[in-house]
């Protein structure tokens, strides 16, 4: 084959260009730290990388939901803990009064104490974080009413009505795809035994849930004021059941917190795995890239050197 200097020049330009392109790709990878910098670098890996990115960002969103859900549940849990303590005191007073008394001072002390404890229960029932009332269901207002009503006793005892105005819905958050956890407890069921409030247990029904806790305390106050030992005995049973009702709600919330914590661990582990797969596919192996870069640089240098040498050769140098 006949070879002209023009061919040599064209070939040199073409090959130098090709080597430059390879060097450019290597340089881009090293500089960015990524193997796939554009979809066209590797369309199928791009698809996988995007799916991984989506999964990671879904995981981040679920983790954020779990954090917020945990916050609400922890606040609920604190309120329930407080209520549980208050119920201990209510039960003690009820027990102390079980045999009845006619001493007006003792009666006044007991009723005033119970009234105070009921008031505190209502305050705890109105626990909120930000504008979210944890026992109000879907309502964003204090669920238990604080208006004063008179109980049918002598002397007249004024007490807060504690009427429930919330809803019995659960504010659910999504913690993994398709799986939701309620982040609140229905105040109506917890303190009133349902909406509308359950009937206060008497006789055979005393101590059988669900218990209208606030209503039962009112009934107990009335019974103590009237020295109604049967009513007080019913009250003692009701208060025990009421304590259990709150403990049950506590353990329900505790269970949900455990579920959130478990899911959080699972998602975190999952995120680590996904990120490591992503890294395997996307992160440049610098050692490998460095070796390749060095090889390509050597080849490029050689190409430059030979091109420079060959293009200088001419018969003109030897003609005189």
């Amino acid at each position: 084959m006949r070879v002209t200097p023009g061919m040599t020049a064209d070939n040199a330009v073409y090959n130098l260009q090709k080597e430059r392109a390879v060097l450019d790709v290597l340089n881009e990878q090293v500089a960015s730290g990524f193997i796939v910098n554009k979809p066209s670098d590797d369309p199928l890996t791009t698809r996988q990388l995007l799916d991984l990115q989506n999964q990671v960002s879904s995981g981040d969103q679920y983790l954020s939901n779990i954090t917020k859900g945990s916050l609400l549940l922890n606040v609920t849990n604190t309120a329930l803990g407080g209520m549980s303590g208050l119920m201990q005191q209510v039960k003690k007073i009820a027990g102390d009064m079980a045999s009845g008394t006619t001493d007006p001072q003792i009666i006044a002390n007991a009723t005033s104490n119970l009234n105070q404890l009921k008031s505190q229960l209502i305050d705890l029932g109105n626990t909120s974080i930000g504008n979210q009332y944890v026992l109000a269901g879907f309502k964003n207002s204090a669920p238990f009413a604080s208006n004063l009503v008179a109980l049918g006793t002598t002397p007249v005892v004024s007490t807060r009505s504690g009427d429930f105005s919330g809803t019995n819905d659960s504010l659910s958050v999504e913690i993994t795809q398709g799986s939701q956890v309620a982040t609140n407890v229905s105040g109506g069921s917890l303190l009133r035994g349902g909406t509308p409030p359950a009937a206060v247990g008497t006789g055979a029904t005393a101590g059988i849930g669900p218990v209208d806790i606030l209503g039962s305390i009112d009934a107990l106050i009335t019974a103590i004021s009237n020295n109604d030992t049967t009513g007080i005995a019913d009250g003692v049973k009701n208060m025990k059941a009421a304590g259990d009702q709150i403990v049950a709600a506590q353990s329900d919330v505790g269970g949900r917190l455990v579920r959130l914590a478990n899911t959080q661990t699972m998602i975190t582990n999952n995120q680590n795995t996904l990120k490591s797969i992503y890294g395997d596919k996307q992160n440049v192996d610098y050692a490998k890239a460095g070796v390749e870069l060095s090889q390509q640089t050597t080849a490029f240098n050689a190409a430059l050197a030979t091109t420079a040498k060959l293009t200088q050769l001419s018969l003109l140098d030897y003609l005189t």
Binding site: S40, Q132, F138
Partner: protein, 485 residues
């Protein structure tokens, strides 16, 4: 037979060698001229006479100045260039489109979609939260803006392609005019018995230039002229006549490609009667020349992506609006329902927008339940959960099958990658093929300086030899004249 014969022989040699040196000089001069084919002199000895008793030639003559040329190779280069330029036009457009879809390196539409649904998730954890509602509104605005930004960048690629057609047609017409002129010169050179070597080189170069722009079939006539037809069979150049290829803007802003009648110069452009070659000028499937590539970008590549983007926008608007409009806001009491989230009139990527009546309070996070009937409470998050769940719904009916929003969009990114990669690969292969053809052509037709310098020496020495013969003959003549004196 006398000394004069000697002068004749030497004279023919001097003339022939001088011509050969001229050819070598021409070759050297055109070493870098594109399309130039090296020329060689073919010498032969002049008729033999037997006037001195035996057969001897009467010197040398130039039989021909031959052009080193391979017609088949030339045709392959013309075809190869046509395909290469088509791929190059597609590649450059796709490389402009790709950055808009480069979700790997930057946050684009995929991230915006993700953030949009993430904001609904956030809202579900605090349905009455002003901050959450405001965040959702601003993320939705970002989503809508990203849609329209992508639509704009795709449309502008299409518009640039449309504008490029004007330059391409002007270039084709210019080269067609030159070719018609070269054809005329070839005819007139041959009419006077000349050898139009250089004109043939120019003819081939012009054919190659035209084929880079549009798909053509060319025929070399026996008289050396080239007849050029467009891919659809319309004549562009015939002997000394050519036709004008030009663009005619019609609505929607699109340039049609028209071809006028033949002539030198051709008849005045008349869009009403000239042939519309828009559908055929790019070859089958717009596969030929820069014209084909540009038309493919304008008519199929960009509209293809745009349709998918519009489909995504339309599905999103429909799905979110359907769920949002049955939900209840916190704009009460009492809370109202039936509000759209996106403007239902905007179902393309260019027109997607938030509903003008939408406000933070009208975002419908609530859905009536048995225990929270109409009007719903401000803390109701049932609808927010349902809208957030649309993100993961993989049963949405897209033209490519059932998929989720993210799945559909990711496939689209991957498709852009595949298309770009394919165009880059074919362009690289085309470049390698053309380079190989170019090497073969150079091997045959290219000028080698070393070779020409050697020839130069060869012919120069022959010239000196012939001159020496003349000197010798002169001396001989002098000697004879001296005898007479």
């Amino acid at each position: 037979m006398g000394i004069n014969t000697l002068f004749d022989i030497a004279n023919s040699a001097v003339t022939a060698q001088r011509l050969a040196i001229e050819v070598a000089g021409e070759n050297i001069a055109n070493v870098n001229t594109p399309g130039y084919s090296r020329q060689q002199v073919v010498m032969q000895n002049r008729p033999v006479t037997t006037s001195n008793g035996f057969a001897l030639g009467t010197g040398v003559e130039i039989q021909a100045v031959r052009r080193s040329y391979d017609g088949m190779l030339q045709q392959q280069i013309v075809d190869g260039n046509s395909t290469y330029q088509q791929n190059l036009a597609r590649q450059s457009a796709l490389e402009q489109i790709q950055p808009s879809f480069n979700e790997v390196a930057t946050d684009g539409l995929g991230k915006a979609l993700d953030n949009f649904f993430g904001a609904w998730q956030d809202l579900s954890t605090n349905p009455a939260g002003t901050a959450e509602r405001q965040a959702l509104l601003s993320r939705s605005q970002v989503l809508v803006d990203t849609f329209s930004q992508m639509s704009n960048s795709l449309t502008s690629v299409s518009k640039v392609a449309n504008d490029n057609l004007i330059g391409i047609t002007a270039d084709v017409t210019g080269n067609a005019a030159s070719l018609a002129l070269v054809n005329t010169q070839i005819l007139s050179t041959q009419a006077v018995g000349g050898n139009p070597n250089e004109l043939l080189d120019q003819r081939d170069l012009l054919l190659q230039k035209i084929s880079e722009k549009v798909g053509i079939t060319s025929k070399l006539e026996s008289d050396g002229t080239a007849t050029v037809k467009l891919a659809g069979g319309e004549t562009l150049v015939s002997e000394g006549k050519y036709a004008t290829l030009y663009t005619n803007a019609v609505t929607p802003p699109t340039n049609n490609i028209l071809l006028s009648g033949l002539g030198y110069p051709p008849p005045v452009k008349n869009p009403a009667t000239d042939t519309d070659v828009s559908g055929t000028v790019g070859g089958a499937g717009n596969s030929l020349g820069e014209m084909g590539g540009t038309l493919a970008v304008r008519d199929s590549i960009v509209p293809g992506y745009l349709n998918k983007l519009n489909e995504l926008a339309s599905k999103l608007v429909t799905a979110v609006n359907a769920q949002q409009s049955i939900g209840y806001g916190i704009d009460g009491p009492p809370a109202t329902t039936g509000h759209n989230f996106f403007n239902p009139a905007g179902v393309t990527s260019a027109t997607i927008a938030l509903d003008p009546a939408l406000s933070a309070a009208k975002i419908a996070a609530g859905l009536p339940t048995a225990t929270d009937p109409i009007p719903t409470s401000t803390g109701n998050n049932a609808n927010a959960l349902l809208i957030a769940a649309i993100q993961k719904d993989s049963t949405l009916a897209f033209s490519t099958g059932s998929d989720s929003f993210a799945g559909f969009y990711n496939s689209m990114v991957s498709t852009v990658g595949i298309d770009t990669q394919a165009a880059q690969n074919t362009t690289t292969q085309g470049a390698a093929f053309l380079k190989q053809l170019g090497t073969l052509k150079s091997s045959n037709s290219g000028v080698s300086l070393d070779e020409e310098l050697t020839n130069l020496l060869k012919y120069q020495q022959a010239f000196q030899g012939a001159a020496k013969v003349i000197t010798t003959a002169t001396t001989m003549l002098d000697t004879i004249l001296g005898l007479v004196r």
